[in-house]
């Protein structure tokens, strides 16, 4: 039997463009374009990401095919039909319609042909099928239900699939404009956050509030049906005919205008976020149950942007009784579509070959991006004029970094292959001691330059996680929340803080404390990432060393970037971020760059580089 060919997957022209290279079921490389171009959520054709992926081909190897993550003809038809159905009220959207049609019609075919070398090598995988492939093929299950929920692909907004040895079979779909992703985006916009990137802020704001608007949302905005499906009341939404996600009636319903980005966050916004999150969770749990019912499977895979809602994901684990296993594609958004399209095309070419079910999964801990050797890193450090130490022994290195962390300092950590997907999982991470609110404040204000109420996530030694968190399971991709056990909480609760008249988010955050302040939210939940010391990741070794020194088996882990900046990709990006922030130590490759060892000019660079707010 000959080896399967190499397939390149591409996603582009909406948001979060990406490329991925696979051979059969084996994922060789994957990366988002934004990491190379340094433009957050870059939607342009992923020339740089594709170039990186193609550089991973063995010498002399050629691409067998190129798979695009959606069918532009079906998408174009949906766009045109929507405009026709809504005319003339959708006229404000017509310029956008013409622009995107021009891009899909004129630019995309040329770009794909140039990359593949021959248009006959190019195929188009429907958007939700690409997501489903990304969720099922790398999963540890030989058969599973697959639930895809996002804003919109071509026409589908929600799909349920059966995945078996013979491939994927769509069971049912919900169609545009009825969309859970766009439902959530509407509240994201209304609360003053940016659509398509601020949804995680809405999720983070929800625990501060009480779902007082839940009934109103259920009564007016969304119908949750007995079969697990849903329908939006389009009277309140505008994304199908205008430049806003919400119609004026939406504001009238809730009684206040849209919050502007710099306006204060009030209890109204907290309660609204809590209400939208609560309804979303109910819808997602119902869809998960429907997925099992429709397919007869007891394992479930998720993808699509809604699957990045780790609170809803945890609800599925808790509230779906017949569920034996849940696996979520870590690059659940559109970037993952590039991977799914490639896997689907590769499967189509090798149907005679049994699917290899990988354990624990086929994603290689999502470490699929570029790596840089010490020669390249040293050259960048020298070019930047930085003073650094070189430590060759891995154990000594981990110990030295752990020592710095134990001293309350904050570390930018850069090692090995870059993560694929929105989460930094240790290789492009900012690490800190999670104990103490001062860490939270410093990391938010002086490192990330972001809203001071937003909590961080913990990286926890896998074997220690059950000791600290309720219902802790292996969570290598930071896709579930778990509650800190009561033993580690301090007595004050959110309810008591509210009763004392505390309403500002940061004050509430300060009022509700735990032994791990920097990584627990006001409801004592945390967005858990578990890591094993034997995973081969240096971050795991650093955490082990930190545990040995302090008895604390977790670290604060946040992405290595500042607000509005893509996660760092190469050593120069990491150095720039170090220079732009108050990071105490840059641990990069085999080198340690301590701020205290640097000349005076280094501190003068802090805060010089700004990015558009996310």
């Amino acid at each position: 039997m000959t080896a399967p060919g190499f397939v390149l997957g591409i996603s582009s022209h909406f948001h979060d463009s990406a490329a991925a290279l696979v051979q059969g079921d084996r994922i060789i490389a994957a990366a988002q374009e934004e990491r190379f171009t340094r433009r957050k959520g870059d939607w342009h054709f992923p020339d740089h990401a594709a170039k990186y992926c193609l550089a991973q081909l063995p010498p002399g190897a050629e691409l067998a095919g190129l798979a695009y993550y959606e069918d532009p003809a079906i998408k174009a038809r949906r766009i045109v039909e929507t405009a026709i159905c809504e005319a003339p009220s959708g006229a404000r959207l017509w310029p956008r319609m013409v622009k995107i049609l021009r891009t899909l019609s004129d630019d995309l075919p040329d770009q794909l042909t140039a990359l593949a070398g021959d248009p006959a090598k190019v195929v188009f995988v429907p958007h939700h099928r690409a997501h489903a492939a990304s969720a099922f093929y790398p999963s540890p299950f030989d058969k599973a239900a697959i639930l895809i929920m996002d804003g919109v692909g071509e026409v589908s907004t929600t799909t349920i699939w059966s995945g078996t040895a013979s491939g994927l079979s769509a069971q049912s779909e919900v169609r545009f404009p009825h969309s859970l992703g766009l439902f959530y985006s509407a509240f994201t916009q209304y609360c003053g956050f940016k659509v398509n990137s601020g949804e995680y802020k809405l999720m983070g704001l929800a625990p501060f509030g009480v779902p007082t608007f839940r009934k109103k949302i259920r009564d007016e905005l969304i119908e949750l049906r007995a079969d697990g499906s849903f329908a939006l009341n389009m009277r309140y939404f505008d994304f199908h005919r205008g430049l806003s996600t919400i119609a004026p009636e939406f504001q009238t319903l809730f009684g206040l205008p849209v919050r502007q980005p710099d306006d204060p966050v009030t209890p109204f916004h907290m309660n609204l976020a809590a209400s939208a999150q609560s309804v979303l969770e109910e819808a997602v749990v119902a869809l998960a149950k429907a997925s099992l019912n429709q397919t007869g499977h007891r394992h479930l895979c998720l993808a699509g942007g809604v699957a990045l809602n780790c609170v809803a994901n945890a609800r599925i684990r808790q509230d779906v009784p017949d569920l034996d296993g849940l696996w979520i594609q870590p690059a659940a958004g559109d970037a993952g579509g590039a991977l799914g399209a490639a896997l689907e095309m590769a499967r189509a070419e090798t149907t005679a070959r049994p699917r290899a079910v990988a354990k624990p999964d086929g994603m290689a801990r999502a470490l699929l991006g570029p790596a840089f050797d010490d020669g390249v890193i040293r050259a960048e450090l020298d070019a930047a004029g930085l003073i650094y130490e070189t430590i060759g022994d891995p154990a000594s290195y981990a110990h030295a970094v752990a020592d710095t962390l134990a001293g309350g300092q904050i570390v930018g950590h850069f090692d090995g292959r870059m993560e694929f997907g929105p989460r930094a999982l240790g290789n492009r991470s900012i690490l800190a001691d999670p104990r103490g609110a001062a860490t939270l404040r410093k990391t938010n204000r002086k490192i990330k330059f972001r809203e001071d109420w937003r909590p961080f996530a913990p990286m926890v030694l896998a074997e220690e996680a059950p000791r600290y968190f309720e219902d802790a399971v292996d969570s290598p991709y930071m896709l579930f929340v778990a509650s800190l056990k009561p033993d580690y909480r301090l007595p004050a609760t959110l309810r008591q803080a509210r009763a004392r008249g505390v309403f500002a988010p940061m004050q509430l955050q300060n009022a509700v404390q735990s032994q791990f302040d920097a990584i627990t939210h006001v409801d004592f939940t945390a967005r858990l990432q578990t890591i094993r010391p034997d995973s081969g990741q240096r971050a795991g070794a650093i955490l082990s060393a930190f545990y040995d020194q302090t008895g604390c088996p977790m670290l604060l882990n946040t992405s290595f970037n500042v607000r509005g900046e893509p996660i760092v990709c190469g050593p120069k990006d990491a150095i720039d971020c170090f220079l732009n922030t108050h990071l105490d130590l840059l641990a990069i490759g085999g080198f340690l760059v301590r701020r205290t060892a640097q000349p005076d000019w280094v501190n003068q660079r802090i805060g010089r580089k700004t990015f558009a707010a996310d």
């Binding site: 794909l112 429907p126 049912s172 779909e173 009825h178 916009q189 329908a231 806003s244």
Partner: protein, 108 residues
């Protein structure tokens, strides 16, 4: 071809879609639907998605015509011709509020 005024742009689109809009139905209902056949079909090749002439909207028009939606097909062909000959190039400076709020991503 010189760029047209934003108002002229809107008028041209409105004229092009007039008959199709009159014949249009409504947007899909909510709730579960039987999946579109394309979801369960094989990946489509380049030549099918972009039709032999390499025009996306030409392929959409052909499909619509095959389904008896001739008004939709005519609109797609008119729109495609306008995209190709540049007669829909508009002066973006005159565009009415490119974004209602900067914080909203265009959904199209």
């Amino acid at each position: 071809m010189p760029p047209i005024d934003h108002g002229v742009f809107l008028m041209r689109i409105a004229q092009m879609m007039d008959e199709a809009a009159n014949a249009a139905g409504h947007l899909p209902d909510g709730g579960f639907q039987t999946p579109m056949s394309t979801l369960n079909g094989p990946p489509r090749p380049f030549s099918e998605v972009f039709e032999p002439r390499g025009r996306l909207l030409g392929a959409v028009a052909r499909q619509a015509e095959a389904e008896g939606q001739s008004d939709l097909a005519a609109f797609c062909l008119a729109l495609d011709a306008a995209l190709e000959d540049g007669s829909l190039e508009w002066d973006e400076a005159g565009e009415d509020g490119a974004r209602v709020a900067e914080y909203v991503y265009p959904i199209v």
